[in-house]
Amino acid sequence: MKRIDHSEASSKFIKAKDHLEFHDKRLWDLRKKRDRESEHLPEWEELRTLASAIKEHTLTHLADYLEEFERNAIANGATVHWARDAAEHNQIVLDILQANGARTLVKAKSMLTDECEMRPFLETRGIEVMETDLGERIQQLDDEPPSHIVVPAVHKLRGDVARVFAEKIGTDPANSDVHYLAESQRTHTRPYFLRAEAGMTGANFAVAETGTVVVCTNEGNADLSVNLPKLHIASVGVEKVIPKIEHLGVFVRMLSRSALGSPITQLTSHFRAPRPGAQMHVILVDNGRVERLGMADFWPSLKCIRCGACMNTCPVYRRSGGLSYGATYSGPIGVIIDPTFNLRKFSLLPFASTLNGSCTSVCPVRINIHEQIYKWRQVIAERNQLPIVKQEAMRAAGKVLASPRLYRAAAEAANAGISKLPRMVVYNPLNAWGRQREVPDAPLLTFRQWYLKFRSPKK
């Protein structure tokens, strides 16, 4: 399978200057709103510690909690299914739909169903799948995956949405008013809610104590998807389970604050049992999660509550766009979980980071994201998954950095080179550091030269 070249892919994103600038600004604005909320709560850091500890406890007792969740969900009248991988998950969904003669599925946003590539699977088997979250619907109509786990179409400007909607749902191509576009989607989607035979959601949390699936949304589409059709299917990653109802308090207080800088989502919905005469199916999905649980360095990534705060704060993500990662999960959280799906395909993603640690400091469940990024680089190098150019560069750098004499000679030569060589040589195509940025002026002396001249203890 071809290796995803994040740097190459992002060059296309960077060329669209308006998009790049807006993307960067919009996501940084979400980060600032998150800061205002977290600074407003004196217990914020304590909540992060609690959230992390609750998740760690659950993950280290996961089998028991999964069984408890299953037992309670069944007692509530739900049906529980288990799926080892995406293929099993998709087949279970199809089987449930076909057993009930359901042809139309209205669905709320779920990263897990994107991860399983469920939509194309169902569509080629005659199921009409309607994404009902506005951002996800825009992406569905444009035949693109979501570029962000919370705001799927954040890389698009209103003109792009106007173009997609005009082509696909017949809006006025000349009208890119945001209210008009959102209203058009509402009007277009409403009849699907009324006639669909099945509705689908993901899950933000699954409560073992009660067998409840909790879904946090803003648009009202999840509650419409569940409360109209007589069939509800919820896809739940096995890491979503938490022990008790009271633990929701910790996570619900942090989720939307971290994601969007709002104190709570407009809707926090608790689906515990089917309505009379209706069915509720919960699919517990592994798809690589259980393997990750056994990785000593990487299992804490399973604490993730998918808020996207690490993406919003990441300078590389903000300036390269989620689609450049070529994976369901992008940004800092993406680069530490994608390699567990396919090491070779995603072996370059852990290099799409400056290791500044900002992701770690905003993470509401205290995942050591930047340390995991660094560790993935080691794993990838050890397993010979580095591209030849990087391998050779690292080998040369290793030699130079291991020898003070070589290092000194190289530093002096580089300084002399930057100040004396013509531009076209310094900014040659092999110098990645010379792309999209100016190399700083070379200092007159290297640090060693300066130190020997001014600070060296003179005998």
Partner: protein
């Protein structure tokens, strides 16, 4: 081996060394601002509205809040409405409702949320197919924050329950905030003591 047995066996094998489960405090803080004031600010911040209970009938208040409304459908005996709520009919029947009316169980000061379950909605879709929602709330039933909210433990045995905070909203296009995404376009909380005559049949408007 079934997928279930296989997954559980591998989880047991891969689980890291067990860690403890911390107790969750309620973080009561030291705010001097009364719960009701905090609740009102929370509702407004999330795009909703709060009004006091009128001296007169609630139906008249709803008409004055939504003069354009033709179909008012109420899940509470305190309001008669114009369209009967019939749980035996398919929920899609409520698509034409302009204003839904429902009584919340309690409110949350921190966020401006109201807690509603299927028992209040009677037909859950009322809270989402209606164009606008009017929620009656007893001001004595406001808890401080989400920790207290989730300690109303019996509430979470309901088959369906939701914290609603303001109207449905989206900012998926360029971050422009729009109230009235897929669900209700507006949410108005009417502060009305459940023990007052307003909640009883004596105030029911024919």
């Amino acid at each position: 081996m079934s997928a279930r047995e296989d997954i559980l066996a591998r989880v047991r094998k891969n689980q890291p060394a067990p860690t403890g489960l911390p107790a969750v405090p309620t973080f009561d803080g030291d705010s001097t601002v009364p719960l009701l004031e905090r609740f009102k600010a929370g509702v407004v911040r999330m795009g909703g509205k709060v009004v006091a209970a009128p001296d007169g009938p609630l139906d008249a208040l709803i008409r004055s809040l939504h003069p354009e409304a033709r179909v008012v459908c109420s899940a509470t005996a305190a309001v008669a409405g114009t369209y009967p709520l019939d749980p035996s009919r398919p929920p899609a029947q409520l698509d034409g409702v302009d204003v839904g009316v429902v009584r919340a169980v309690f409110g949350v000061a921190e966020t401006g949320s109201v807690w509603l379950t299927g028992a209040q909605f009677k037909v859950n879709a009322l809270g989402f197919l209606s164009q606008h929602l009017v929620v009656l709330l007893d001001p004595a039933r406001i808890v401080a924050n989400m920790h207290h909210a989730y300690r109303e433990r019996a509430q979470f045995d309901a088959p369906y329950g939701v914290f609603m905070t303001g109207p449905s909203a989206t900012a998926d296009i360029e971050g422009v905030l729009i109230h009235g995404a897929q669900g209700i376009r507006s949410l108005t909380v009417v502060l009305e003591a459940a023990t007052s005559s307003g909640s009883g049949s004596s105030r029911r408007v024919p």
